[in-house]
């Protein structure tokens, strides 16, 4: 019995030694895949002032709220537009658009708006002659206000009915980006 007590004593001492161990610092992952920023630049076809819409969530999902910058479009105007995706957590900021372009057949942007007469058509193609949607042309008609929603889908069914024309309903895939801008057409 004495021996057992001795053992237990030793054990408790070992335990106290053990328990003072702090957990080592975790390695902070290099979040190279993260998309923090979407910039949608609209340049009037006939020349004029550029409009820049942006969505920035620098700390990724959760944490602080994203910062959304919006702008106003002119009625009856055509814009030639380009999307840029950035990971601004890296210095210098990493351009994710390139990655999307390289895997063009696995990605597609979709644009939709509830503003009457506002339409977006694709002006780029992937290797299968399907649109990617990094470069687009946006046309406005009447003045009005509402929203413009931009969605990026990963691995959509690009051959699905209406998908190549920009209809998301049969696309499937995972959403990588879904942002909404409140805009006015003046």
């Amino acid at each position: 019995m004495k021996q057992i007590l001795k053992l237990i004593g030793l054990y408790l001492i070992a335990l106290i030694g053990f328990s003072s161990c702090e957990k080592d610092d975790p390695k902070i992952p290099n979040e190279e895949e993260l998309i923090t920023t979407l910039i949608y630049t609209l340049e009037p076809v006939g020349g004029g002032e550029k409009v820049v819409l942006s969505f920035k969530d620098l700390d990724g999902d959760g944490g602080d709220d994203p910062v959304i910058t919006t702008g106003a479009l002119q009625s009856n105007t055509s814009y030639s537009c380009e999307i840029q995706l950035l990971n601004e957590l890296e210095t210098p900021a990493e351009d994710i658009t390139k990655e999307v372009k390289e895997e063009g057949d696995e990605h597609q942007f979709f644009y939709s708006s509830n503003i009457g007469g506002l339409s977006v058509i694709y002006s780029d193609k992937d290797e299968n002659n399907n649109p990617i949607g990094i470069a687009t042309q946006l046309t406005t008609l009447d003045a009005g206000s509402g929203s413009l929603k931009i969605i990026l889908r990963h691995e959509p069914d690009k051959f699905g009915e209406g998908v190549a024309a920009g209809d998301i309903s049969n696309a499937g895939g995972e959403t990588d980006i879904e942002v909404t801008f409140d805009i006015d057409v003046l």
Binding site: E33, L34, G62
Partner: protein, 769 residues
Amino acid sequence: MYYRFFLLYIILGITRTGWSQECNHFISGVVIEAQSGKKVPFASVFIEETGQGTVSNEEGAFIISHLCNTQIQLTVSYLGYQTYKDKLEVAANKDLVIKLQPINQELDGVDVSARGISASDRYTQLVSKQQISDGADKNLANMLETLTGVSALKNGGGISKPVVQGLYGNRLTILNNGIPQSGQQWGNDHSPEIDPLVANRIKVLGGVEAIQYMGNSLGTKVLIEPESLKKDKILSGQAGYYFESNGLGNGTNLQLQQSAEKYAWKINGTLKKRGDQKAANYYLTNTGVEEANVAFQLESVGGDRWNWSTYISSFNSQIGVLRGSHIGNLTDLQEALKRDEPFYTKDHFSYSIEAPRQTVNHHLGKFKSRLYVNDSAWFGFVYAIQFNKRKEYDVRKGGRSNTPAMNITQLSQYLEAIYATKVFDNWRLKSGLQFQYIDNINDAETGILPLIPDYNSFETGLFSGLKRHVSRWQIEIGGRYDYKIQNVAAISNTLPREVIRYNNHFNNVKLGLDTRYFWTSDTQLLAGINFSSRSPEVNELYSNGLHQGVGGIEEGDPALNQEKAFKGNLAMHTSAVNKLQLEVATYYQYIHNYIYLNPQDEVRLTIRGAFPVFKYEQTDAHIFGVDFTGHYHLSEKFKFSAQYSYLRGHDLTNDLPLINMPSNNLKTSFRYHQEEFVFAKNVSFEIHQQYVFKQDHLLPEQDYVSPPDAYHLIGLKLSAENALKHGSIRYYLKVENLFNVAYRDYLNRMRYFADDLGRNVVLGASVSF
């Protein structure tokens, strides 16, 4: 004298078994004390292979009927006596005289899990060796599902975890060979990393019986253990193979064992591979599974005062997750819910496993030793080490699908010292000191902030249990105290990224009292009460971020308190009515500070769109239910069985139903058995049906979609045996979901996206030699 006694029994036609199968043989005998010849009433008599058992009556006599004519291992145990074990032929043994030796070195004390039946044990809560062997195509949780009151929480066909009387995950400890399984049990999409074929025996423990094991549960535990080794000097073993039509799965298992002069060894290996499973009407693309497991056991033989055993096991699996269940955000989920057939469904079968998928490795090494101090006391020691690695792969951009999105390594060490002795007036005392160290590390290669932070924990536990058999009563009382230190190092989700530290100290207490009253030798009443407290786990405290597998943002709460639960059980087993055996168990559990993931009203805006937010919150809840099992022997050849489970979980503070509670269900089966049929032996044919009620105790706003409708499945099983020159062969044919019914199950997360499994035909054989 005994003979006359038995004759009377047989004439009266009393069947007094606790559990039975087909077949019309019986064994009978009397249990006496070796020296004095005194009768031993209420001793446990148990058949290892089938799980059938009974207790001796007031005269020390017992009979177990409905046995097949095979060789069985009979175990007779009674507190204060050495456990009796023997291999015998059923047909030749009708009047056994079993002499029990009063306690000496072999005593197991209150090591109630060791053999046979204990006070808190319910017969139905055991999956026997035969059931495991015939269910080789199933995983651990699916095997446990055959027990009344046990369900499985699933994520498709390859991932499932057991739910016992409404408890699962952090509330249900899984004991791998007596050691608390140290893995990633927090996620509903994580399966226990254990191969049941390597285990041989699975039991659900409750009450005092569970108290001697470490583990942060709310009372109930699942014990998976290998059988002890045979002491035969000849090489023996078992080789099994099965094929299943759904998923074109193949599996094989080989077990070999032999004993030498000083030690005995056993090796047990399993290989399984299955491709895409099929629902009633379409393939479930990317639902394949691959598994390779091995276990090695080495035990000392003889050893007068000292014995030891070692156990090493390795579990390795790769599991595909339905491609169409991988979603980006809330909009994606809503779209998926609208579809009949999931996105990405291919029109052909494939064995390939792509992202989303999981790879899991779990290795266990255990050393156990026991020293007999004197004739009525022993000292036990256990050391175990576990290594757990889980990698989860999501569909990712830029060729990163082969980089895990979650990569966690967990290393755990376990120490146990136990002392058992006889105290006071024949009470068996067992006390122990246990220690577990866990180190959980995320690999930064994922490029994603971890959902579960890095942590280590040190837990020390002290338990004590007393057990006594007094005439018609068996009483067990026990308690344990655990002290836990948790050191957490999390990464902030705001900028700049920095390390946030938390240090926690928890005190947990468990107390229990179980009684068993032998009303007659046919009828037993069991009653128990217990109290358990459980400290919150790391995921409940510090989860922070997007859980891709579930498509929601999960936020822990560092201020969570302990859960405290009271549970009461009342059960009755009876075979007093001719040919009928009944078991009824009722339970009620009140849980103060019940921790659950509460969906919030807010949605969180991210660049990927809106996500639902779930926060870990606490409430007061109760879970209660009734489990019913009955067998009726229509004749020697026909048997009818029924199982019914009713369960209800409710959040008392908010007056809301609890989510993820099993649906009520009713299973019945009708079995025909013939001893000899043409050239085969023990031919049995069974037709069974399962009716799962709709989970109607849930409000529409508590889920994305209302719970699936009730469903009804029919199955068949045909099995037979043949004697071989050395040993025997057993073959079986099983058909599950015979009519290929399209259905969805409430506890399967895949129900949001796809139907559950369609028809499956399993063909298997196993040779024992």
